[in-house]
């Protein structure tokens, strides 16, 4: 589903953030992207989201080489991908409901369908009773769940998440990871970047380890999908 073929990325004037990275995440798989800070995890996700373009190599998502997508194709492509951003990127001048509904408004979904899907997504992350509140009125864990609701509201086939447990305590982190696993069980392909190795190791899913912009290992302690309850 997500395929990197000898991908290198060099940001302007910096050393290579990724060197010759080849990765494959199968359809329906949940894979973790680990490695210490600066290893290149976020860069991998940005290449998948077309926030950045590779300097060399190919990124293929859902069978489509992303290099073929021009500036005008990017919006439609992004609408098909669920993204959980490192810093949430929730809008505080809007309600929880409006935040989750935003991707549907962007993709031109009908009014009634927006209501139905938005409530369903809020229900899935357990925030239905919070729909009227702005994100800042929610706890850190609730905010993270809200941003996950926004990422899944369009029923994407692929979901990427960058440090989704970044500033959560261990209990909340576990709760969020379990939420991802439940979503993965319904068939969403997931690539989750996290530097929290102990947390990641509690799940059986495959881990792609990055180090200094290179893949230094790909290990799996258990089965790949729907793993480790």
């Amino acid at each position: 589903m997500i395929r990197f073929e000898n991908v290198s990325k060099r940001y302007d004037g910096a050393r290579e953030a990724l060197s010759n990275v080849s990765i494959e995440v199968a359809a329906g798989e949940l894979a973790f992207l680990t490695g210490r800070s600066g290893a290149g995890k976020s860069t991998v996700l940005k290449l998948v989201a077309l926030i950045e373009r590779p300097t060399r190599g190919q990124v293929i998502v859902g069978g489509r080489p992303l290099a073929r997508l021009g500036y005008r194709d990017v919006p439609a492509y992004r609408q098909q991908i669920g993204m959980v951003f490192q810093d949430n990127r929730l809008l505080n001048d809007r309600s929880a409901y409006e935040n989750v509904a935003l991707p549907l408004i962007i993709s031109g979904t009908g009014e009634r369908e927006i209501g139905r899907r938005t409530r369903a997504a809020l229900d899935q992350v357990g925030l239905l009773d919070r729909e009227k509140y702005p994100p800042r009125a929610l706890s850190a864990g609730e905010q993270q769940r809200l941003s996950i609701a926004r990422a899944i509201v369009s029923h994407p086939k692929v979901l990427i998440a960058d440090e989704p447990t970044g500033n959560l305590d261990p209990d909340l982190s576990l709760e969020i990871m379990n939420l991802f696993r439940r979503l993965n069980e319904v068939g969403v392909t997931m690539l989750i970047a996290s530097h929290d190795l102990p947390l990641v190791e509690r799940f059986g899913s495959r881990r792609i380890v990055l180090s200094g912009g290179q893949v230094s290992g790909s290990e799996s302690t258990a089965q790949t999908t729907g793993a480790g309850k």
Partner: protein, 306 residues
């Protein structure tokens, strides 16, 4: 996206933009005021020129020459000249006012009657009132005047037209000034709206960035701001119309007084439908393009360099 959804989205953006305007009433008022004044100025110049034109038009049939014959020219000579002139090109009509008729006319006025009675003989010459053909320009009229002046037995040619020509020249100047003002101030409105919307964008950068990350197209991002620009343009145009109406009302009385002084039925030209359409169209166009430019600049800043 279905047409119905798109329409609903546009309606939401339209009303949403109106809502955004009411949330910052002072800023909105200032922007709208500047736009209104900038649009009213060229429109006012236009109305002024129209008024002047109709004035010049009213006085057009005062283009007659008064040709005074030399004193003691016999009447038959005057009659002959009148006949000759009537045959000439460029002359519509010639009316002979004999010295006797002129004295009789003057004698009706008691003030002059006494003075005339005291005089020996008739002090007035025969006069020919020559009306040149319509559509002659200043140069042709000048030539005709010179020819008449050079005719034997003609004492003096009087032409009352010069000030009308001057007025026309001034009006042409003002009309051109109006166009220059329209272009410059239209540009100013564009810049004002562009800058106001740039500030609006700055308060919503986070929203724009998130929307783009979630797959919003440039036109999705642009749309609410375009409506904002259109509202600014609309309200600016309405204010301009109000300013125009009040100015014309204030000018009405002095213009009427001027008109009575010149015995003319001059009236202030109204704000014609065309002028209103131009003000409205100019306002909307400038508002829309100002918004377009501001958002496009912002979006191109977000665009990855690839």
């Amino acid at each position: 996206m279905s047409a119905g959804i798109l329409l609903a989205r546009h309606a939401q953006n339209l009303l949403g933009a109106l809502g955004a305007l009411t949330r910052n009433p002072v800023g909105t008022f200032l922007t709208v005021s500047v736009i209104g004044i900038a649009l009213a100025l060229p429109a006012a110049l236009h109305v002024l020129v129209q008024t002047g034109k109709s004035a010049a038009g009213n006085w057009d049939d005062m283009r007659d020459f008064s040709v005074y014959m030399a004193p003691a020219t016999p009447l038959p000579r005057a009659e002959t000249l009148a006949r000759e002139l009537r045959k000439r090109d460029g002359i519509d009509s010639v009316q002979l006012i004999t010295a006797e008729a002129a004295v009789a006319e003057m004698g009706k006025d008691p003030v002059f009657a006494n003075a005339l009675a005291a005089l020996e003989g008739n002090p007035l010459p025969h006069t020919l009132v020559v009306r040149p053909a319509a559509g002659m320009d200043g140069e042709q009229l000048g030539k005709l005047s010179a020819e008449l002046q050079a005719t034997p037995d003609v004492d003096l040619v009087k032409l009352d037209l010069q000030w009308v020509q001057r007025l026309n020249a001034i009006l042409d100047f003002l009309a051109r000034l109006g166009w220059i003002a329209a272009v410059l101030l239209g540009g100013a409105v564009l810049i004002i709206v562009g800058n106001t919307i740039r500030l609006d964008i700055q308060t919503r950068t986070e929203e724009i960035e998130v929307a783009k990350l979630l797959g919003a197209t440039d036109s999705f991002v642009r749309r609410p701001f375009l409506y904002l620009g259109l509202w600014y343009g609309l309200f600016g145009s309405l204010l301009a119309t109000l300013i125009l109406a009040i100015s014309l009302w204030l000018l009405g009385a002095p213009v009427a007084r001027l008109a009575t002084l010149y015995g003319s039925d001059l009236e202030m030209a109204g704000v014609g439908l065309e002028t209103l359409a131009a003000v409205l169209g100019g306002g909307l166009l400038a508002g829309w393009s100002g918004a377009w430019l501001a958002v496009s600049r912002h979006l191109s800043g977000l665009r990855p360099r690839d």
